[in-house]
Each structure stands twice: as C-alpha cells, then as structure tokens.
Amino acid sequence: MEGKKSWVNKKNVCLFTLLLLFWFVLAPELTIETIMVGAIACSMVVLYSQDIIFGDKEMPLYSLKKLKIFVRFLATLLIEIVKANIEVAIIVLNPAMPIKPSFIRVPMMLKNDVNKVIYGNSVTLTPGTLTVDITDDEFIIHALTESAAASMEGSFIEEYVSKMEGDTK
C-alpha cells in the first residue's frame, strides 16, 4: 500500500497494533488468511477513525503513570465490588429489608469526559449506589441505604479518578 505512507505516524501505528492484537485474541487460529484479513480490517478502521480516536482532549490520559494508578484503582474497585455485593445480598435477604432510598448530589470535580464516564460507571458497579444522571456541574446518584449515601462523600473512586485527572493540567 503506497498510499498508506502518509498515514503512518505514532498514533496510528499504536492503534493499529492494539487492534491487531485484539484481532489475534479473537481469531480462531493463526493462519495467513486470518492475519491478512485482520491487517486489512484494522488498517481500514484506523483510516476511518483517525479523526475521532485519541483526540487531543483525551491524549493526556494515556501515560505509564496513569496506567499504574488505573490498575491500582481497578484492584481496589474489584475488592469493593465483592464486599459491597455481599452487603446488598444481606439487605435483600433480610426479611425486614432495611432500605432507605434517597437521591444525593455529588458536585462535579472532573473536567475530562472519559474520567466522568469512569467515575459514573464505577459508582454504578459498586452496589448500593447508582448513577442516574451526569449534568454539567453535578452527578445525581441514587443510594439504596443511608450508609451507601454517606460513603459517596470522599469515596475511594473520587480519590483515584481525581488523581488520574490531576496531572493532566
């Protein structure tokens, strides 16, 4: 492909390699055909999506330091999910069902859209809390119990996501 020469830059090569690796994971077996089909499909995806992916706004998110924080965040999140799941299970199976649903508003402390999504999804994954809406200046979160509502203030999610965002400025 002669025309591809002008498209080769660091960003596109990174994306291409990632997509190709993903393709190899999904491919049933490694033969010449799968490699060729994968390479063609990946280069087409790269060509079509180069304007929207890895934009300037989200680029500062991808650095080795951020990745370390993110991995630690995922580990903490996993442990919290399991712990909180058991709590919700106890509440549901309790005959009295001690729930006290309420809406809480967490003021927006993030600027980056990707970080907002990470925060919202993590809050939903942690049982007892559910992100209902994200507006410009706050998160609207539904909490199942009082303790879940209280735990949203200064939670570990907030701490980690702010840390991930912190260095971008």
């Binding site: 999904l26 999910i81 919700v88 549901v92 999804n121 994954l125 049982p127 539904h142």
Partner: protein
C-alpha cells in the same frame, strides 16, 4: 490439581448462582424502579462475572480463557451503561410527572 480445579469451579458456580438468586429476589421484593435497578445490576456484575470466571478456571490456561476474560470486561463496561440509561429514563419521567402536577395545581 484436577480436584482443586473442579472444586474451585464448583465453588465459583455456586456463588454465581447465589448472586443471581439474590438479584432476582431483590427484583421481586424491591418497591420501585430505582431500587430494582440496584438489585439487578448487582446480579449481572458479580453473578455473570463469577460464572465466566468458573469457566476460565475450568478451561485452564488457554486462548479461550483470555476471550472469556474479555467478555467479563465488556459485560462490566456495558452493564452500568444500560443501568444508567434506564435510571435516567425513570428519573426524567418522574420529573416530568411532577412538573405536570404542579402546573395542573397552578392552573
């Protein structure tokens, strides 16, 4: 080794079944849409995650286990998004109802 693998698989499957059961019981018992969302998102995150993890353990170290782990990742990414959109729809519906009521009271 075989016994450990089988035992771990059985344990993970039983826990996954337990969380699905809790999710369904919660769906039946909870009073309104939001609290039901709480119960059902939980059964998906941990129930489906543990069931797929059981398959990973049963499969051993293989390319298929990598694929299964990817499926867990995707379920955990899409599930909160779906929950979020349902909750948002319910929230907007309630707000619209409140506004309608207040406008009726005024008029």
């Amino acid at each position: 080794m075989q016994y450990i693998q089988n035992g771990l698989t059985i344990f993970l499957l039983i826990s996954s079944g337990f969380f699905f059961l809790v999710g369904t019981v919660g769906l039946v018992r909870m009073p309104d849409a939001f609290t039901r969302m709480h119960a059902t998102t939980k059964c998906d995150t941990l129930g489906a995650g543990l069931a797929l993890l059981a398959l990973v353990v049963n499969q051993g170290f293989h390319i298929i286990s990598v694929k299964l782990l990817l499926i867990i990742g995707f379920i955990w990414m899409t599930n909160p998004t779906a929950a979020h959109i349902i909750a948002k729809a319910e929230y907007n519906k309630q707000n619209a109802n409140l506004e309608k009521q207040s406008s009726v009271e005024k008029g």
